[in-house]
Amino acid sequence: MIRRTNASKLAATVAASLVGVALANGAAAAELNFSVMESGTYDKAASQIAAEFASTGTDVKVFAFPWAVLRQNNTTDLISGTNQYDVMSGGYYLADVYSYFSTLDDYIARDNYGEGMIAGLLSPGRSEFVAGKSIGIPYGIDAYGLIYNTEMLEKAGVPPEFASWADLAAACDKIVAANPGTACFSHATGSPEQIGGFFFSGYAGTYISEDGKYALDVPAATAAAEEITALWKYLPEKGTALTFDEAHQLFKDQQVAITVTYPSFITNSLDAEGSPVAGKWGMSQFPGQGFPWLSLWQLFIPSATEDKDAAWAWIKAYAGPENAKRNLVEHNIGSVWAATYEDPELKERNAHFWPALTAGFAAAKNPPLSGEAQDLLTNTLQDIVNGRVSAADGIGSVAAQWANIPVPPAMLEAAAGSDLQEK
């Protein structure tokens, strides 16, 4: 399951560790340390490209960690001043530490880098900015999607189009009735933060007040939370603590008609040889008045990185258009380059879900929330759907406590850019 990166290359010796890794930076001229998620996709691609990149004279060491650990390590590395990683992978949840990254506007302008990228990706609210300057270079895009089993939906006579979560809940009744012994949908309910995907799409309001504080449109948010609570009834039995893998397995085993997930996590395996649902699935656009949760992996160069030119060169190799198709085909990394989606061969092969997928990319956003603010929201949503607190009380509590959490300046920019600040 766990695909290790070409980790022998990290062969960080025990001695080096004893001496202190801070020293390692001194030799950065010919060496770059790259932190990336350990997923069997991003990290594998990184190792592959690093091997090719060695010909430029720069040895890229790939450090791969699971998401939570990666986030923690990156943050810790920056604020502790350890400065171990020269290029980091991450997303908007690093907002707390944006100030530790260097701006890349000069490089972007010099190489006219954004040309050919999916429209709007290099703008605030989608990729990361500090004081109007770009700091994050996108390399992998994904947006929450709704993947359905064609047969099971047809049996119930339900068209795969849902305007809202309430809509889906209504459809669920029919789906369950038509497919006895199954449940309506599965989701990674055990990952506490993933419930955010339902909220962000179900809630049409803003997240930051006019005066720059975290704020919610409480009635709208409460309604969204209630919709999610209602929907939770249609999870499989004992299905409130599933991992993505478990949720996907239920879909593949046709125990559920729908799975709510990040498409890149699952689409490859659904069409794989021997898949019981091959040819029997489709993807529909995400319900709700809000936005599908964007997952935009970006590369950052910490200010402390010494050889920024080499780091930029690595970014271009890893995130640039040259390897985009291969990354997509071999590792299912969502390409950020518009051209990839015009590839006739790929377009045809993926006709059953690409339209919904690319539509999702266009609509997807990140919520302008720091980790602390987002955790407060998603944990409370979990409490709401599990009946520990009512939707009104829970949302009220989030709104009250958000007032105490400072908004990182970058989040203000993002919120403005993605139209999520109150005007």
Binding site: M1, N6, S17, G20, V21, S39, F265
Partner: protein
């Protein structure tokens, strides 16, 4: 005891054994289970067939497990040796020093208090301190933390031991011409071997198993095995197979070690409560 009582007792013991040991069995069986059997219901307690793929995976020569294993070994051994040595010296000094104002007792209690506060309180400032010393992510940072956590145990245990240490034996050594250093090295330490062994066993377990401090100051290069485990819980799912295999690697040697060092372990654990 009549038969009914004996049978009842045996039954209860059997139940206790099952409850205590079943999780180990589950862990070990899961580490041998094919990956595709983790996600579907009805795969049963015993794997359909046994595979070593998870062990092969975590011990992939290109992987880091060997490094983590080595880290754990280095940190545990070094911490244990240092903690036992420093602890024995400190306990000896506390037992023999005639300090004013019952200072010995105050210091002794100070050692004890370390057991009573949340380690999370010190984890963060300690992280900042190590950052200042440029020691983040080094073995040394973890070792210092582990020594500071275990030395109090050692001191406390050995203080109880020194209360029983025959005073005349040391007086004899003084008359024979030994100052404190030689008394300690030539008389006290050799006679304390069982107590030192108990302290060492306990310290080794604590260091090998410790998670919080290790994860705080050594996220990467100096990462230990327990810290690695938490990494198998990924955002996509739990890598059950690898996690079971890795947990087995952490747990099974310790369990075996515990079987052999049971006496010392029990002594080390109980000396505080039963004697104090």
């Amino acid at each position: 005891m009549n038969l009914a009582v004996r049978l009842g007792r045996a039954t209860l013991i059997a139940i206790a054994l099952v409850v205590a040991l079943a999780p180990f069995v589950v862990l070990f069986l899961n580490s041998l289970r094919p990956a595709d059997e983790f996600l579907s219901a009805g795969s049963g307690l015993v794997p359909s067939h046994i595979t070593f793929e998870h062990y092969a995976e975590i011990f992939d020569p290109r992987g880091d497990t060997f490094r983590y294993l080595l880290n754990s070994l280095i940190i545990t051994t070094t911490s244990t040796i240092i903690a036992v040595l420093l602890g024995a010296m400190a306990a000896y000094a506390l037992a023999r020093l005639k300090l004013p104002f019952r200072l010995s007792i105050v210091i002794g209690v100070m050692f004890l208090v370390i057991r009573f506060y949340p380690k999370i309180t010190v984890a963060l400032p300690y992280f900042l301190l190590m950052r200042q010393f440029n020691l983040l992510d080094t073995h040394l940072a973890v070792i210092i933390a582990h020594v500071s956590l275990t030395v109090p145990f050692v001191v406390w245990m050995l203080l109880a031991f020194f209360e029983d240490f025959p005073r005349e034996l040391e007086q004899a050594a003084i008359v024979d011409g030994c100052g404190p250093i030689r008394r300690f090295m030539l008389i006290v330490v050799p006679l304390m071997t069982p107590a030192l062994a108990a302290a060492a066993v306990l310290t080794a377990f604590m260091s090998w198993n410790e998670f919080l401090m290790a994860s705080t100051v050594a996220p990467n290069f100096a990462k230990t095995l327990p810290v690695r485990i938490s990494g198998f819980i990924t955002d996509k799912g739990i890598l059950w197979g690898s996690m079971s295999a890795m947990s087995s690697v952490i747990v099974i040697p310790v369990a075996l070690f515990a079987l052999f060092t049971q006496r010392y372990l029990a002594r080390g654990l109980t000396v505080g409560a039963v004697k104090g």
